[in-house]
Subunit: 421 residues, 4 copies
């Protein structure tokens, strides 16, 4: 059976067999309920696209690239499976709760996807599992086994790991299909043209050379364009300060809810969809409900204190990571500022976006796609001053930012200066 699905980014997609079966699994259908860009729609009203769409797009790009590289079926199939499944570990609102996942689970969303694939974890809460079983649908693990695909191979690919290096790199590498799809899709949905990349040229000039993904020399500009688009989208959209404010508010509300531990707890918080998370927050009086209402009706916290970005040396980065690398550390610091300002916890929120980059999106500093020039592989930064420059560029406009409710901005500014200054 084959099915044609219309995708606003890549046109008509023809799906069949493996991909179609995986898409119908509850783990992947769940992604319809998770917005690709978390709360970015509070700033970019069009940003309502879901991880589900993205996953279809990635599988389409894998198919296209697999065709270009003439990959044999036994390499292509695990790649396709990974394309469809690489995001099943995502919590509600995509990257917003990543920090908490790391802290409470000790896993990021990719590692959690691995656990699901290996049958060690589930995206569902206990009661839901029973109801899903009533629908009598095969799980992801069943489908993989039916198609003779090794779950652990897929779990590795999600992390970009594979004995054949290029297979991992296609999914999760310096210029992977995941990033290609999200740049195009986010540009399409937000209307921010900065993310437009030359997908045709990228697809046409990526090669496999010495077991690795590389680019033909005539593709260098397309790669430069890709790297720049990515950097600019991070600054203007993903790390837009208002988006960050909203996301940090949500993360703090979830933290409070977990502490109370009823409708939302440390075992379920990352399994919920956007809708579930919001409705459960709403059901918890006090801080969680207040924040949920503020997000729903867009009454956001304001900036009280900000430290502008500057180029960081390697030791500085290390120091930042050491000081702010854990959710608990940040919580303690923000509570210290709140106390100094005479405010209860939760009224003051500290955001250190640079840590996010270093932890969740290390690809952002990876610009070393090898280019094939005259039969030899050359590091891109050798060929391209742009690539070299992007290594140094700080994607977030601010190193750190302290936010609070409108009426407390002054108080918090003073307190933050003392604690962080």
């Amino acid at each position: 059976m084959e099915k044609v699905i219309h995708d606003p980014v890549h046109g008509s997609l023809r799906l069949g067999g493996l991909v179609l079966e995986l898409i119908d699994s509850p783990e992947v259908q769940r992604l319809r309920g998770i917005r690709q860009l978390g709360l970015a729609n509070l700033v970019f009203p069009g940003a309502n696209h879901s991880r589900f769409e993205h996953v279809l797009g990635v599988s389409n790009l894998v198919e296209r690239l697999g065709h270009e590289l003439e990959l044999p079926e036994k390499e292509l199939n695990p790649l396709l499976a990974t394309a469809v499944l690489h995001d099943i570990g995502h919590p509600a609102y995509s990257h917003t709760l990543e920090y908490l996942m790391k802290d409470y689970l000790g896993k990021d969303h990719m590692e959690f996807a691995g656990s699901i694939l290996l049958g060690k974890a589930s995206t569902y809460e206990r009661e839901e599992i029973k109801e899903i079983q009533k629908l009598r649908v095969p799980s992801v693990v069943d489908i993989l086994s039916k198609h003779d695909i090794s779950p652990s191979e897929v779990a590795g690919l999600v992390l970009g790991k594979h004995r054949k290096l290029y297979l991992g790199q296609i999914i999760h590498g310096d210029i992977d299909v995941d990033q290609m799809d999200y740049l195009l899709r986010d540009a399409h949905s937000t209307g921010v043209a900065l993310g437009m990349i030359d997908i045709d040229r990228l697809m046409g000039t990526i090669i496999v050379h010495e077991n690795r993904i590389a680019t033909e020399s005539k593709g260098v500009e397309a790669v430069e364009g890709f790297l720049t688009a990515r950097a600019l989208m991070f600054t203007s959209v993903y790390f837009h300060h208002t988006v960050r404010i909203a996301e940090m508010m949500l993360a703090n509300a979830v933290e409070f809810a977990i502490k109370q531990g009823s409708a939302i707890n440390r075992y379920n918080f990352h399994r919920l969809t956007d809708a579930e998370l919001m409705e459960r927050l709403h059901s918890i009086p006090g801080y969680p409900r207040e924040i949920m209402m503020r997000l729903r009706y867009r009454r956001l916290f304001k900036t009280a204190y900000v430290e502008e970005r500057r180029e960081l040396t390697r030791p500085e980065k290390r120091r930042f990571l050491k000081k702010y690398g854990k959710w608990r550390q940040i919580r303690m610091l923000q509570d210290e500022i709140a106390e100094k300002a005479g405010l209860p916890p939760g009224r003051v929120i500290l955001d250190v976006p640079i840590v996010d980059v270093l932890i969740s999106e290390p690809r952002l500093e990876k610009v070393e796609v090898p280019a094939l020039a005259d039969g030899k592989l050359v590091r891109l930064s050798k060929l391209s001053p742009i690539a070299e420059a992007l290594k140094k560029r700080q994607a977030p406009r601010h190193l750190l930012r302290v936010i609070t409710t409108a009426e407390n901005v002054r108080k918090v500014m003073r307190a933050a200066s003392k604690v962080l200054g």
Copy 2:
């Protein structure tokens, strides 16, 4: 204060004053939580755009058209307010529950918007009103009064009514800005190019003549293109049979929930957002939760019986309306079929899309935009065989359709033939 917002369809929108204040009202912010195309994303995965985006788009088109027509501020401002507010009466999933609204409230979403504007109704349940008040945000009614705009003028405009006919027609007429925005936006989000209209030409050739909206003769093709695009989008997207199946399932689940009358009842069902409605359905064991799970994981009912479209005479249409025009009538018929098939109520669902057209989208048969040819107004169907043809064209591909769970298709087919045949 002015704000620039990026819209994927119309580019950068510059918002200020009246429009910005209205957008910040809770009534309009609520629209972020309502998908423009209901459950169409189950078929067109990109269809996640919200009524909120649409409302921004419509206000942009009003501004553009107002500029073209050189409308004075005291005509433009009520129009702008209406553009932002015309959808505040919408229940979750847009048109899906319209039928139920008519039945339980005796009002469609536009009439309900009127009630809100006149202070006779609210989009919120009682408890929520208090929480919103804590956020200290001005309501829509306050803002209108601050800007000296008459709520009843706006309530009239929502329905396309105004002493100055053209003002009503701009918002809700044969070729209004509401339809222009949704065609472009739905095409953009679904990837179905059929909805592409020549917005530049439309904007440039619409005029006011003898108190009415008309088109210059050089704009006739743009209008023909608009009318055709609308007809084709109705058939391929809005009335796509799988979309209808999902929406009818949801409507029936809500009906069951209302009958039980706890988390969802006749007073609140139309005030909820998509997320709230789904989560509440989930909280109600039995039919509501089952249907919600089926929608969430895309296990839809199947077609058991179908009557293909054909051209209907006027008396036939009247007969259809008389027989199927009310939700109760349809419920009785579908229960009759269910009984005959030995199934409990809810297992059999009857869909009569033609009634929807006649009741909710009478604009679809309105194709008589007057065109100005040699200084005289001519009816479009005089100039354009296309316009004439569209009057006869049935947008839905099926007159009626009976659906049920996969395993009961045969039984229901027989039963339906007896009852409806």
Copy 3:
């Protein structure tokens, strides 16, 4: 060898073998010098795209459709050759001189392409042939023979004729790839969105059934969209009255030049490229040079007399064809008007666009793509009132039009009324 070419409409095209060789032939390279839309750039400044681009696009669509229909290579190759070669018989400015070709050669551009393919004619003037030979490039006939493709099969396909009906229809039928490409390309270049068609859906729903091209029933809307787009583009772009004025001026200048018979004569007029034709007209003092200067600097003739379109009965069409079907007839009538107005020949030009439709673009009235509904083929007009309506719709806004220089408009109006009224 394979080559990637960037096309603004279809993206990266991968060309190789047969197609690449044919493209490199002088007959096809010549098409770089012929604008797809003749003089339409005088009204739509972006309309500078060439027949060469179009031909690449058509070959791309053939490849795509061939893949969808799983055509074997021995059917696909002649189709690809035809796609590349179908326009080699075109004179300068595309359709502008078609009338003259019919009159002087007794052939339209497709029939002339056939002559070239069969080795009976050449696109070049005698001297040029020698110079081309110096470049030592294989001719089209050589390349076809190298690839074992029958020139007469290709010559037939150009006219839409083939024993296997569907092969002919793919190239030149009711919804052929030629039209699909030109609608998209002309919309892209002119910025007139009316030509946007849903190419993805068309490609995905066209089938071969009982030896003919048909559409699946779920493709009906895409076909309706296609037919409407075509009709609207004809009215707004191809038959735009100013475009017609410019093109008729050019045709008359060429006629004068042929009469003088030096730089341009009846044997070479249709072989020249746009540039050659213009420069040669410039070299001929008197009327040809004047018209050329008027076109170059956009000092166009004005309308003196016009008869608006109306629905024509079949006998009326026949009468029109009988009266105006030949270039000579039109010349005689316009000269009669000129005489009556006291003006020399050439000052008055008569345009009867309806004849053009009937002679050169009979596809415009062909809307009977068969649709497959429930296993049976149904005529589209049965399913679609739009298709039915398009049969009656007159693409040109005017039945006939008389033009002259600005200062003679009144005189000519009176004279024309007498002669034509």
Copy 4:
């Protein structure tokens, strides 16, 4: 009178008064006959767009920016005039003959535009002037004077010079409207997405500060995107090696023709349109005609010797300019190589693209748009490592390249190594 023109890049343009009159002047109409990208269509078949379209686009952007910056009419009008007129000095095939202009006229196309504006030169050959006069159309100088616009102010603006610095910079500065339009238009026509810039953001964040054009800090990413897009388009399109080969062939053919001095001579070569130039080359037997035929049928010279790009120090750049900065110097060197290879002059062509950048497009190294951060102007390269990197990036992939006919490649390679190595 007002006129609406459809532009494929910016949509419907509403033109009136000054702009419309200037557009109708013969100087501007002439630009219909000059392709924006010279011979790039030999590589990018869609690149047939004309300077005329571009000029309309630039005037549209000036209007838009003027509106954003709230420029008074007496500043806006000269800017609009300059937008329409800035390219009237262009020779055929845009930048291809720039080198020769410099050498024979001692002026580049902008300086020549200045001469025309000041009434010291004309775009026409003597005989043509008379014929244009017959068309009785006002010249550019007449129109400016009618609108009280100083020709010398416009002549200065063409070069980016104005007492009010920002006025000059809007037309010809680091991020000017000229570049914005050409990047978008070239991307649109070639299908190379690398040129896509975020025009909405650029327009919305450009400000005037201390008499200069600057960007708000929230516009920095849009500027980074603009600068990168420009750099990538130069490398992939404008300096594509095959495009350069074709353009150098043409320049050499014109040089030969000038030397012969009949149909083409040093007084007229830069006044001709693309069509005229080609047809005149064709009329000159020997080298000019051969090259013309090679270009027409795409039989291009091949690369014999190439020196790859590398980062150049300032002194190296100076040395390059000194050695290759003049057309004569290059001619002498290429003739020396030809002689050494035993070939007649013209068979060997030397291309040194870096000189072109330094001479004709110094904007390419200008990346210092000031950005307003916290009320202070900061140099962009301070804020953006990308901007810094672009200063160092060589747009052309090759420092120099020697080309010849296919059969002489080896011979010439050896000879070039000796002369240049």
